[in-house]
Symmetry: C3
Subunit: 269 residues, 3 copies
Amino acid sequence: MAPSFAPSGVITLTTDFGHKGPFVATMKGVMLTRFAEARIIDLTHEIDVHFPAEAGFWLARSYAFFPSGTTHVAVVDPGVGTERDVVLLLHDGHVFLAPDNGLLAPLAGLPGARAHRLDPGRAQPYVLPAVSATFHGRDVFAPLAAEIAAGRVRVEDLGPHVASVVPSWVDEPEVSELRVSGSVIAVDNFGNLITNITAAHLGRFRRPVVRAGGHDLEVRRTYGDVRPGEALALVNSFGALEIARSERSAAESLGLSRGAPVTVREHDG
Amino acid sequence: MAPSFAPSGVITLTTDFGHKGPFVATMKGVMLTRFAEARIIDLTHEIDVHFPAEAGFWLARSYAFFPSGTTHVAVVDPGVGTERDVVLLLHDGHVFLAPDNGLLAPLAGLPGARAHRLDPGRAQPYVLPAVSATFHGRDVFAPLAAEIAAGRVRVEDLGPHVASVVPSWVDEPEVSELRVSGSVIAVDNFGNLITNITAAHLGRFRRPVVRAGGHDLEVRRTYGDVRPGEALALVNSFGALEIARSERSAAESLGLSRGAPVTVREHDG
Amino acid sequence: MAPSFAPSGVITLTTDFGHKGPFVATMKGVMLTRFAEARIIDLTHEIDVHFPAEAGFWLARSYAFFPSGTTHVAVVDPGVGTERDVVLLLHDGHVFLAPDNGLLAPLAGLPGARAHRLDPGRAQPYVLPAVSATFHGRDVFAPLAAEIAAGRVRVEDLGPHVASVVPSWVDEPEVSELRVSGSVIAVDNFGNLITNITAAHLGRFRRPVVRAGGHDLEVRRTYGDVRPGEALALVNSFGALEIARSERSAAESLGLSRGAPVTVREHDG
């Protein structure tokens, strides 16, 4: 049986467009023109430019905080206007639309997820009359999301089911007997370094030690568990291992950013 | 016959306020206090500070993606509190409000557009009881927009029709027999340089060559039509000539920003 | 008699989260899951990181521009997950929720304001099933705000009345016979320096002179009252003394930022 979707009227937007210019806004305008009752929430527009992996990382960890029946649109699309496909994904009562460039890989692998490849012919009645070569967010994704969120078209009517999607640009952490090796996927406004290592990965260690930027860090519960200025590791509120510094920026003080390697091993003692 | 306006309840906001402080938010609070059902969309708040021309440039190219009956408020207002006028403009079923400082010039010149100058006496029943000297966005524009979007007052009741508005700070491209000369109006989050030269301007050339920052560029269809890192020109999704660099920042690599001259001529070959 | 609160369905959000990642968005998702009709307005997410005083400063000066019955959530929370309390405040028909770290001090001192300390036991039916150690904005504040804004729970049912809250991190201006001494609390997108000195403080001087960064400035009405590039002082649209520079950044040219001392004295002449 196909996963079911009962639209809530909520749409989230995730892009690397930033806040300059009318790019996000015209997507919303197109949505409201089609579906005046849409309630549109910005997930973030500050995905690292041209880095789909961060968008998928956050979507997979965030979608469940939105009402069942939410339509999530993610546009990090360096290949716009070329031959890349579009994926529509049903998972856990939510719908996800994105370019097929690895963005949705973290969701496509979840149990029960079902992916469809957009068939341009079947999408044609819904997209803007003149689709530009450089802004499918506004011309293709926005109108499709509005129609799906309004309950006027179903994912399964927009293209064939596909068994797999393009894999993520970032590998899952490597797990060996003695260590877990992952990397920094995102840096937040506080300079916290957020990795793709999860609480489940840590579960295998009695007393995990986290190594990042030449420092060994113990895993604490919250920022205030060390003195201001001290570095620490913790499992953050999205279940991801995070390198932080109490009341300061870990990114700055450790000189680390996206892609930095992070490993976890057992404490020697 | 005057152009007609059937309010959709949608309001867009365009400012140079950025995202610090409660400036945009208090405009929205005033709107919701007057008109609880308003659906307010941020067009952008990152217009280059004190540069009305960018706001008008984007509004003229974006408004049609919003529902007919939308009220567009634009506040880039270095002259706030001085003797400058306020313009209300009806065009194509949309309403536009802005200081009369050239911001609305790109719209006022469109066929069928009709401008009115705000008469402070007629506006007085609608604006906030105490209008500050420095924040007309909140005290004048927000309440007026709410009343217009709610259908409780009409543009034509707020002041006399005027034949012209203050011209734009940026000239239209200069067109000669052999070349079109324009300039960069905006830079987007990707570092793409967006000019005031349009697809129509390019139409006069058999094989246009775009010159910017000492480079000659051919016009391509999309970013992926050249190799990553290579510069290109294209007509973007708003019909504007854009200087870009595949998967990189053209602004950074060419060292260009707002105001940089860009010319188009016929290819020699 | 306790202050009354008739919820309008409007919720404002004030944080230091910036716009990276899904932090603000998941708060909104939780709110819409509980209360689909919520109208959520971002007050600002660019409060100076870990500086609650700026959030309280703006909230105290902004709330009245929102509809009566608005629920204001402010999360600047360096102590998240430690023993700090949460305050719920009723004032003037509005509700405010924040960590008890001084953020709400500017409101708690207003006549008629009534503070309650959140009782975790009474909050428990409303918060998320698994409260994280590091993101109470999403797990505690968002669901509580949604329930309050939906009219399903009252502030006075969530914990005992308390006579006082933690004081602000920034002192009120010091007033002596000859001078008023305050400081810069916030810098806006234009580089204007906004102080905690108020119009009322200025009222005691016949011809006030404002000293900041070694410059003596006269108080003008609006930016355009001096020539472009000249520095000035004015009472801004929130009743706060502001140091500005016409069409330029005062922060940059005077080299001043948050915390800089500003004094007002009588003109010598």
